[in-house]
Amino acid sequence: MKQRPIRWSVYAGLTPAILIVVFAYIGTIVWTVGISFTDSRMLPVARFAGFNQYIRLFGTERWLTSIQNMVIFGVLMIGISLVLGFLLAVALDQRIRAEGFLRTVILYPYAISFIVTGLVWQWILNPTLGIEQTVRGWGFESFRFDWIIQKETAIYCVVLAGVWHAAGLVMAIMLAGLRGIDPDLWKASRIDGIKPWRFYWHIVVPILRPSFISATVLLSLGVVKLYDLVLVLTGGGPGFSSDVPAKFVMDYLFQRQNIGLATAAATTLLISVLCVLTPWLYAEYFRAEKRKD
């Protein structure tokens, strides 16, 4: 008998994964995208509506603001976290006393839920309760730090809380990368007479490029999914000034009962993520193929 029997057990073992991918991933995506092309309001309806929902979506100021906020949050939170995390890792790499303690302190925020993060920072940034009130209590009567209740600056408070949560993660990734660098490289630079900061900027940073990319990818996951933090820190407000796409979708799905609009928004999010991901994955796949030769 030349034919190899099909190994049913392997497929049995893969059944959960296959079911999940087919139904929970692909199935739901198809369904969501499908609804976005209908007139559905509270319940799905099979009335085809073309691109109406999308037109309505991009005419909604709240949606446009939320997209803008997501971009601002993404750029600032990732940028600041990368810089801060890198600097912290470099500082900790200098044979510091109490390195273990400092590492624990910097990384613990990552173990904290976004809900807790948002709540605590909301209290700290609250003008009547937190920083503004305390500094005024020290005698600086005219001190102002009411970003959280101002339309233009509310989103920056979200950035602050996000950096607090994520910088430790970046630090951990960078520190691991730094520890993997050949120590003789540092010695060679001392013999060449190269100043430490130049060494870090010209030699170390290029070596750590993969770590920067890893960190950026991980943080980006959080940017698109941002919901809990905004819900609790600012409620999307004041008004809708700190709204983010995830919250927009959730609100329209379950509160405002407009699933047509909500799914259009969700689909838009999906497409933008795919647009960014596909070229990157393709490049990674290509590089992996090249390496195989």
Partner: protein
């Protein structure tokens, strides 16, 4: 054995410096310590505020000064938060939420890790057509925003009567945890020599028997990492618990938002902060105990592509 002193010509020390060079605490080093100190303050600030506020009596809180140390220490807010604070119409404190979270956590962690390990095992050692495609689809799923999946899932759960049950939540956590768990275990199994697996096949092992008897016991390090990641992720989850849990199964994070929601009268910040600490406690304790494993988990999850 001593070296004869006469063999090597000894030159007397000349003039100029000798011995260790004088060490001055350079400005750079002071700067580094200052930077780290200020950063530590920044990161500790919320924890400090939570702890300090939760043990202050209301009179002190009314005085303001969120950063001031308490002059009288009371644990009454903690008791209230646990057993008598109001979350909506229910005034049993946040303890129901705690037990709900536990009820959700244990099966979710076990199931998601099990399925992830099984899938990772299948994809690593067994040649299956479309394995790479499946894996790519899984990874892609990890990147996509939840909102795309949520509504259809709600409908499916309603239709099957699972909505608002623990089962729905466990299933949800398995669904959304699968990509990362599979990635972790696949990477881990990639590091195990194929010869071990081949030897097991030769000894008569089959798919499931090899998994349960050989691979799973060998995966202890990765199981620990997966455990830490999932305990943290699932305990801290909010959106799934809110959407799929229903009233009866609200996890602690959801209960917390209800507890601290502004009501009439004055806000009991000390009770709120106590409840917050309790909600953060479980993953925080896991973090403090596991330390290095936690970092290893991040590093393992960060190895993407």
């Amino acid at each position: 054995m001593t070296a004869p002193e006469t063999r090597i010509r000894s030159v007397p020390m000349g003039e100029g410096p000798s011995g260790p060079a004088p060490k001055s605490l350079s400005t750079a080093r002071i700067g580094i310590y200052a930077f780290l100190f200020i950063s530590a303050l920044f990161f500790l600030l919320p924890l400090y505020v939570m702890v300090v506020t939760s043990i202050k009596p209301m009179e002190e809180i009314r005085l303001g000064g969120i950063f001031a140390l308490p002059t009288t220490v009371t644990f009454e807010p903690w008791v209230k938060a646990w057993s008598s604070a109001c979350t909506g119409l229910d005034c049993r404190g946040i303890s129901p939420g705690f037990w709900n979270s536990v009820k959700i956590l244990v099966p979710s962690v076990i199931c998601s890790i099990f399925v992830g390990a099984l899938t990772g095992y299948a994809l690593s050692f067994w040649r299956v057509r479309g394995a790479n495609l499946l894996f790519a689809a899984l990874l892609l799923g990890a990147f996509l925003p939840y909102q795309v999946f949520i509504y259809p899932l709600v409908r499916i759960y309603s239709a099957t009567g699972l909505f608002s049950t623990i089962y729905a939540l466990v299933l949800t956590h398995v669904i959304f945890g699968l990509p990362v768990m599979t990635l972790l275990f696949r990477n881990y199994y990639a590091g195990i020599p194929v010869d071990l697996f081949k030897a097991a096949r030769v000894d008569g092992g089959r798919f499931f028997s090899i998994f349960f008897r050989l691979m799973l016991p060998m995966s202890i390090p990765m199981l620990v990492v997966a455990l830490i990641l999932q305990v943290t992720g699932i305990w801290n989850d909010f959106i799934m618990g809110l959407t799929f849990g229903g009233l009866a199964n609200r996890p602690m994070t959801v209960q917390l938002t209800n507890l601290v929601a502004p009501t009439e009268g004055e806000i009991a910040y000390n009770v709120n902060m106590a409840a917050t600490i309790m909600t953060a406690a479980v993953p925080l304790i896991v973090y403090f105990i596991s330390g290095r494993w936690f970092v290893r988990g991040i590093a393992a999850g960060a190895v993407k592509g």
